[in-house]
Assembly symmetry: C3
Homo-oligomer: 137 residues x 3
């Protein structure tokens, strides 16, 4: 039987927030020893990534790359009524992920040593985001 | 026990087609109350995205961005025998998704309010595409 | 009950390696007839893609596009101590996938005719990479 949990994250605006521990806690508290933990974000202007967790500069550089590749206020975009960062946020969400499944092994999330799970807020203003974790095994 | 369904979509050429209702119907007709619905596209020049469903201009702008980032007929490409839009279609597919898992909660797909599930046809000519839905719970 | 396997791949440096057969073998050897095979890579500078398997030039062109879009040694990047290809490798991993779920139908991976599953090494030097396969059904 699948087990599901939901939690909210208040973001301070654009950038990444480590949610590894919160998801790991749900996995430990479940009785699933082997299976999958699916992490899902119910939004289209924030997303999920797995990324190196040792040097925070990696995520700063990722942000620099995305800011250059999908510039805010790009005159290419016509969906502009929600602000110059809204349409870029939708593109960034499509280029990254809304749903990531992670193996559960021996009752724990089997991430690599340097892998962290991050919520990526793409809007410049603070938002409240909802994450759902579904575990099957 | 997993439950699986398959359906075909005839695309009119490049662009997005909302498949949310078709997948939602399979989820409702299944007896899975809590779990995951995996949506999988068996092609490498069409893909899947979760995207804002309120303003269609969002997907038009996404298309504009992809057309600029991965231009048809780019002289960079050497795999050109299937047409100037074929290699860009493969790159677009890799940048988006071929497989998306969506939570099933209370027997329904738990998408966000503004989240739609779309088949993204990347070829300029019409194609017939196959989507497979696998539900586990 | 989920079934899990793990295998290592020695990469010769940047490029794609077909892992379809190895994953398919795990699926055949399992007793799951219908479900999902999740493939997960425990690294942040190598990733997974589903891509056309007929013409190897498609993956060469994909590499050309990524090399241009995320150039090695880009002065934009500040995380440079692990080499000019390290930060681009992290960006490429985020743009592609670390986790892909593939339907299992009649005890086999239900890939499309032209779909291959590839490990994508993004570092220029050889590495040893770990892939975990989790099957649920």
């Amino acid at each position: 039987m699948a087990q599901q949990y939901q939690f909210n994250v208040s973001t301070p605006g654009r950038g990444t927030i480590d949610i590894t521990r919160q998801v790991e806690q749900f996995v430990r508290e479940s009785d699933i020893q082997a299976g999958l933990a699916n992490v899902f974000i119910s939004h289209t202007s924030a997303s999920l990534i797995l990324c190196e967790n040792a040097d925070a500069m990696v995520r700063t550089d990722l942000e620099s790359w995305l800011s250059r590749a999908v510039p805010d206020g790009d005159r290419l975009f016509r969906h502009t009524m929600e602000g110059p960062d809204d349409m870029p946020a939708h593109v960034r969400s499509v280029l990254t992920a809304s749903s990531i499944s992670i193996p559960i092994v021996n009752g724990r999330m089997a991430l690599g040593t340097w892998q962290g799970l991050y919520l990526y807020e793409h809007r410049t203003e603070p938002h409240r985001r909802t994450i759902r974790v579904t575990m099957v095994g």
